[in-house]
Symmetry: C2
Subunit: 242 residues, 2 copies
């Protein structure tokens, strides 16, 4: 099995995703928030690219969530912080969501056989599920405005490390994946600090969102693995054991 | 001063290089070989993109060098192995060179204010020289066929580490540069082994070129820093001390 890590949305060639399992990563914060929402009982998250598409897709009872420039969108119910997606808000609800990078990455992956949401929060569960599908895997770092983001690369390194371990080293990866595994291994004991000092880390900290970074850099806090099905990211069955 | 690391030739936007110093890296093997040739007394290396351009650029006494598919080009004097560029062959000679990635990266950098050839062999000397120019720096990993190559990324990490040290931490880098510094720091004690197991490393080893990899992964063996001037990469003055 081959695992190809892609450095940003800009790098995807949609046709090359056909028949593969894609893991979309946007640690700060879209996939971390989607995973949290679903862990908190949200029925599903519909990812869309534009604010207008979000408004058009909303039906009665749905919540609108997302961000532009890291801030909640005017008129939306929720921003892009996982702390806004508590069970008292999202349980039983469908959320229509648009973010600058993460939901766009999901949209760009539509030709894949399976699309999973990955983050540090669900790393091992996500690795287990991706391997279970038995297909070649693309790990898509959403990045920021078409450029690589450190937090997504480190998460890709973590996921790869888990997949190498779980598969008993039967998977192969590209040079970029290998580099991300090395980088993750270097900073594993100071992961939150490394991410606080990177580009998105400093940007969010300046906006007073340091707590979001601390939350999103927790490894294996959650076991849910959102899968894109029927037009939305929805929970699949809990992973039994790993 | 800002140091932006670019993952492959495919990622360059030529206009964004204007006024900057570009360090082109192709560890396996173009820039390692150019640096070796110049250290061995070669007058200059003219980088061209195609085999036909190489033949057209050759004047009497010039040598033709380069590779396609890692092999010497039919009718050329030299391939792309640094061991072919000994002083008895190259001293006083101009070499017209075409390789799949490295010489192409130099050609694509023509809008820069300065273009240097960097590799592990001349890492510290190259870092010193790039900082001396006093301009923002782009570290361009040539990669392979428009994709990232591990050996170039690790060399970028090494160069960045040197520039951070030499500048007393007054330089800033992008997230990709930070990731490469982490990756280099992780494998520094087993650099040759890490590169022997990456994509180009395994390809060259299969062709019986393991010795080239061992040679090209030596750090600071040489102090020459080729600079693009008058249409060719030429030696600039030796770096006095570092």
């Amino acid at each position: 099995m081959n695992i190809h890590v892609v450095s940003s949305v800009n790098e995807i060639i949609s046709d090359q995703l056909a028949g593969k399992t894609v893991i979309v990563i946007d640690v700060l914060r879209a996939t971390s928030t989607i995973i949290t929402a679903i862990a908190n009982g949200c029925s599903g998250v519909i990812p869309v690219e534009t604010v207008q598409q979000a408004k058009n897709s909303q039906i009665q009872g749905d919540l609108l969530g997302g961000e532009r420039f890291c801030q909640k969108i005017h008129g939306f119910d929720l921003g892009n912080s996982p702390f806004e997606y508590g069970p008292e808000i999202v349980a039983g609800k469908t959320i229509v969501m648009t973010t600058t990078n993460g939901t766009r990455a999901i949209q760009k992956s539509q030709k894949a056989a399976h699309i999973l949401a990955g983050s540090m929060l669900n790393a091992t569960a996500c690795a287990v599920k991706a391997l279970e599908f038995g297909k070649d895997i693309v790990v898509l770092c959403s990045g920021t405005n078409d450029a690589f983001s450190l937090e997504d690369g480190l998460c890709a390194g973590l996921l790869l490390e888990e997949m190498v371990r779980l598969s008993e080293k039967t998977v192969a990866t590209n040079d970029f994946g290998t580099a991300m595994m090395h980088a993750y291994d270097r900073v594993r004991s100071g992961l939150t600090e490394a991410i606080l000092s990177c580009s998105n880390g400093t940007r969010l900290a300046k906006l007073g969102l340091t707590e979001d970074i601390v939350y999103c850099t927790q490894i294996n806090k959650l076991k849910v693995v959102p899968l894109f099905q029927d037009g939305m990211m929805k929970q699949i069955k809990q992973i039994a054991a790993f």
